[in-house]
Symmetry: D2
Subunit: 438 residues, 4 copies
């Protein structure tokens, strides 16, 4: 790869997020000589794919860059010879997501895209597809790095690292958003701030925050408890109890609200589902509006409205990672990688989300060691759920699926777990061939 | 100790269970030469203590045994020179237990004596007292074995083993009851059946059941799923879902219903609390009736009514342990001991409940190694709760108390955790000096 | 198996030890209803096999027992339907052993049958053969227990448990000999003594010795240091330094002399090799004499001279294990089993030698947890050697063979390691097909 | 500390290496605003201390820098308010080192300053002194970073981190020298090369070498095996066997020769000791010559002859670390830190040498996880030796000292271990008060 021009393959290229990614590529032309971008998507997304490709070409032309853009349904052509394969697809589209959100609510259980039963359903649909993609990478681009954004990103990356030989790193915009929000609270530059992050995807804590060599964790916790803006576009801004934060002693991520404050989160979800619709149902409208904008042949840049979509820093997170690998930066990023002992109590083969040193050697996690019981119980419980989900998704195993949901802390009772599982299997029938084999 | 006559010190001797213990001593006269039993209790329990002592003397006389019985409020005298110290006391009595059961119900949370917030409250009251007892043992009977029955038995034993030098083993009648119930299902003698038990107190699974060298786990699970009698006097007999048991692949203990089926258990508790009263409130009546019987000077044996009290096999569990230690039997018992690596994912200093080889060397656990994620998540979560509870109880630390409840899987939301904690601290004020020190 | 008559398959039945095994079977007729013994051996051992079979039949007849004895070269027939398969064969015979002993001596390295390069060479020859045997067991007697005596017993058992599905337990007469010698020192019955044993085969320590509930470890160490008889027939009785034993704080096994006192052991070996010959060369004579005795058609019992051969308690160790499994005794034996976390610092898949509870559930090790650095360094070093040897033996891998010897603490320099490895590969050429494949 | 001027305290300031350190400080004036250097030494080193201070002042003047230089015997004054405390002292001076080298040779054991019994003796002398220094730091400069160069650096740092609250990082010039030598072999800039280093001090491997995103480990090993210059000034350049390196699969450090090739190393040491004298005896002459140069009042820079002394890159290693911490660089350095799970098989509290991310948060090790058995045996054995040595040194415990030497792989027999220990204790009597207390 060394200093040769870069080919990017974007699986799920028809995503409404793509223009941000393209903007990120153009911003980094000095350090990242991208020569080719190949967007690929499935038949059903063809129209969107073509809109995105056209907008991309206009953006490149406006920037005066020299990048070949291809858009096709031919995944193997996209992958062949790629240096980085970025996966951001959504099996079943927003319709499937809406179902993921609605099913649990029937049983008074959090209905959310990535955590709880919603994330479980998404994992069942996604994992068989990504393992297929990996077969292509193993054959056609064995040295490529896969950067996986597809949610639930930790779980999906664990399936890839357990069942394929692909060099994969899972990525999420939550840790970088945490850094931005905390820097804003502390009135400092993000780069002045160092966070010791470790946990699982959408269940990551900053165990310590450093500012200019000083441990400012307690100060940050106080600001969050005092009501400092600390959430993301797609999560209800439920305030945090200051006493709880003080007792916790670590900075939770915005998604922790689902685990620590399910009463309020569930009430909010149920109320919203009856009025504005679930998050997916809302996003469908936003998407429609975005693609209406993207179609405009005079548009040659990322429209401001994309910010409302919810994926803040998505482009920075992914392209900074490409930069760190390509240019061997050895900079610290928070990524999803094989645990390998980083968090002592979790299995070696578990994927965790943690601070890691990223360079041409990939992402090497920074040792965490023993975690406090204040966080270790939850992380162990959720990791057990994740392991069981990976096995259920790969092997189409009902029992492991049932145990997965029974172990998810958002599902309080095995009877509800079973009812939800049965609904998920029935309503996603066409996307779950692994459960119907043989 | 070797082959010398045995002195037993019974802390909380005024318990209504005591006659069963005495019966057990008398049944084992051949192998266990008990020469002295010293019952001790607190001032408030003096009347009961004397009733028990008188009944005990009548039972001994009837049996023609030669055992000195002392009943006093002098704990140090009881402990001095004891070979076995049995702890079965209840700080705050049944009134405190009734509060432990009622407080969580206000917040739609399981209200139970040993699991959930009820067990947490009991631990806060009990641990300071048992650490005091241990100081006496360290001074007055350093070679004695403490057999701890005081609930929550795992947690309390963990506090003893972390904070004192006393040789302690925690004991519970659940595992022996499981064995009896499974033997009944399988229509075999209990001794023909071997269970590989491991977990935590009141959260223990038989991971495998063997009958005559054959693994009969699946068969047992099917019988339990088909509705075989599988519960204990003090737990609602909520039926088990056969599919869930099959997926679990391990035999849960009756108390697992609180964790796996909280919906039904909570509904039952709430209903009962409004009609017959909570379990403690019911037991108060039973206790009254038992002590009325015990007072009868013609009674010289354990009355049959004691069976309704709920502590089946209590006497067998404890005296078989005394026998195994005293006579160096090297027999397998399920006890609460320091983990020391037995279950790989838990800390060395955690107390676990597992099969162990008991002899004059104490209780040596049988290796368990890596547990399946199907059980490991729950066990890790509950152990985190237990560790935090021990620290909260020993140091009177509010933050660790809050994190303990926030990590208890029966408490679904931190706001409820905090409300319950505040209620517990307020309603148990006089029993929690550690929270008011300094 | 339950209570049905027992078929024993003895692989390597032509061994001079076999009469002791037969005597053990006859002694245990009450509790072990053996109905069939099938001895099997290789072509080269046919004459010895027939001598043994004839003697066995005379012993059975004299005892009035009803046991069918078969002797054949048909391994599959021996294994088919066996309940216990006992492996006690020696690939290459005593000639190969003599080479194992002589090669290292050329380089001033301990030349011994089971430890050091001698044991390494034996493992290379043995492992391919035992894996073949295991294939037969998997096919023809999948429920049988393999009791493996073939040295190096730990290493060989590790290969079996890693690479086959056979239910195998490794066994050695060292731990039972230690118990007998220590009981003699302490002037007690062996059964009164409890040893907490853990380590590796021929590298096992009794970490604590208990007599009637008292920890007598220090007393035993003092007696060993004072010169109490503490060795086995085949090991030079080099005295132990009392200060060292006191510092060690655990009772070493007789074979530890090779690791702790190689100066004296090497000097003794070199001297003996020049006069009486190596141990193998001495044993050849003993064997000759034994078989001369066995041939005598009037002999119908184990001759007393067998005791000089060196395998004391061999029969007791193996048949007590058969008894424990068959009759579900749940008694404590020291065996070679999968670690599975028993000794925390070693890999789960490593085979260790430790106290275990043996019953119809097999051998369940008793937890050891963290070992003192005083023993952990050596055990880790030797286990690394063993792991590498298993891989070298299974895959015929030169590099792993070289690293195995380079990691063996008895081989002080990599140049000597390489020279010894090359000699071993050359001199055992015909027995090491795995190194010549493809 | 943030951006304030820096005070350095140099314990053992009279070392002949100091001018290199001063040169390093002057080279980094832009990024490291050192305002004060306080050299401290013991009475016996006063003359050297003053020579060094005078030379330092001339160097600073020549550079036109504004740095206050103090030289005193007042350790507390040096430490008070320091930002960095650098420890580079030598208890007993070169005379003691010469004894450390000579004693083992009497018993045909490697006599070397840092590994084997020589390093053990040095640790016994050094640890009580450094713990005293730490008491001063805890009191007078609790936020200071201690950078410890005093050998055996890993062992000594382990004692500091186990027994004090000082923020300490151990440092050695071996890893940076390895990087320089490998970069020379590969004909690349050191910065283009990434080494994944992990092990113990003077027992560290580069497990993988990366050049521009390519794994070049095998290529480096081939070059080392082909005879590429790969040693340091103070170690005999014994060539490496190419087959061994290939089998090892990791790049050893120059000091590994003592463990892998003791035959040749010992022969060389014995020969040299009889001719030129031991390394210490040679250094005494070099030192004399250096101080003769330093005395020259016209000298105002580090003389070229210092290079022969052996501490190449010593200044870069330490000042780059100061820079990384002070300027929060988050760059990767190889340092000695608390293991905390980095290498799974070693205890959390062990100090290891490994790649770490250094910034204002200190040094955070990069996860290593499970090491191959090819290196794990040796590392475990040496770590056991180190743990025992720390305990022996801190508590003056003979037994742990004996077990330490008995576990050192360079000491092949316990009788030699004991003889060497007794010699060391006798010949260092005045430096080992901890062995004579009470």
């Amino acid at each position: 790869m060394a200093k040769l021009p870069i080919k990017l393959a974007i699986i799920g290229g028809g995503s409404s997020y793509t223009p941000e990614l393209v903007e990120g590529v153009l911003k980094r032309r000095e350090q990242l000589p991208v020569s080719e971008i190949h967007f690929v998507d499935v038949e059903a997304g063809l129209e969107k794919l073509e809109i995105i490709a056209a907008l991309t070409r206009r953006m490149i032309a406006k920037a005066g860059a020299d990048i070949t853009v291809t858009a096709s349904l031919d995944r193997r052509a996209a992958i062949a010879g790629a240096d980085f394969v970025m996966t951001q697809f959504r099996v079943g589209g927003l319709q499937a997501r809406a179902r993921d959100e609605r099913i649990p609510l029937k049983y008074d259980v959090i209905g959310q895209e990535t955590t709880g039963p919603g994330g479980f359903a998404k994992a069942l649909r996604t994992i068989p597809v990504i393992l297929d993609i990996c077969k292509d990478i193993e054959e056609l681009a064995p040295d490529a790095w896969m950067l996986n954004f597809t949610n639930p990103a930790g779980l999906v990356t664990e399936a890839v690292l357990k069942y394929t030989k692909v060099k994969a790193i899972g990525l999420c915009n939550v840790p970088v958003s945490m850094k931005m929000m905390i820097a804003a609270m502390m009135d400092c530059e993000p780069d002045e701030l160092s966070l010791e992050c470790a946990g699982l995807n959408h269940l990551v804590w900053a165990h310590r925050a450093w500012l200019n060599g000083k441990d400012v964790t307690a100060e940050v916790l106080q600001k969050v408890g005092d009501g400092a803006g600390y959430t993301m576009k797609n999560i209800a801004e439920e305030p945090w109890d200051p006493d709880f934060l003080n007792a916790l002693g670590a900075i939770p991520c915005p998604y922790h609200r689902y685990f620590y404050q399910p009463d309020a989160m569930l009430a909010e979800e149920k109320a919203t589902a009856q009025t504005e619709g679930t998050r997916a149902e809302q996003v469908m409208k936003t998407e429609q509006e975005l693609f209406d904008l993207y179609r405009d042949e005079t548009l040659a840049e990322k429209p401001a409205q994309l910010e409302n979509r919810g994926g803040a820093y998505y482009s920075d997170a992914s392209l900074n990672l490409v930069d760190a690998i390509y240019n061997d930066r050895k900079t610290v990023h928070v990524v999803n990688v094989r645990n390998n002992g980083t968090i002592s109590a979790l299995p070696d083969a578990a994927v965790i989300e943690c601070s890691a040193v990223v360079g041409s050697w990939g992402a090497k996690p920074i040792t965490v060691g023993s975690l406090s019981p204040a966080v270790l119980g939850l992380i162990s419980q959720v990791k057990a759920y994740e392991q069981l989900t990976v096995e259920a998704a790969v092997h189409g195993n009902y029992n492991q699926g049932l145990m997965a949901l029974a172990n998810n802390p958002l599902v309080p009772d095995i009877h509800r777990a079973k009812a939800i599982l049965d609904d998920i299997l029935r309503e996603n029938h066409d996307y779950l061939p692994q459960f119907h084999a043989g």
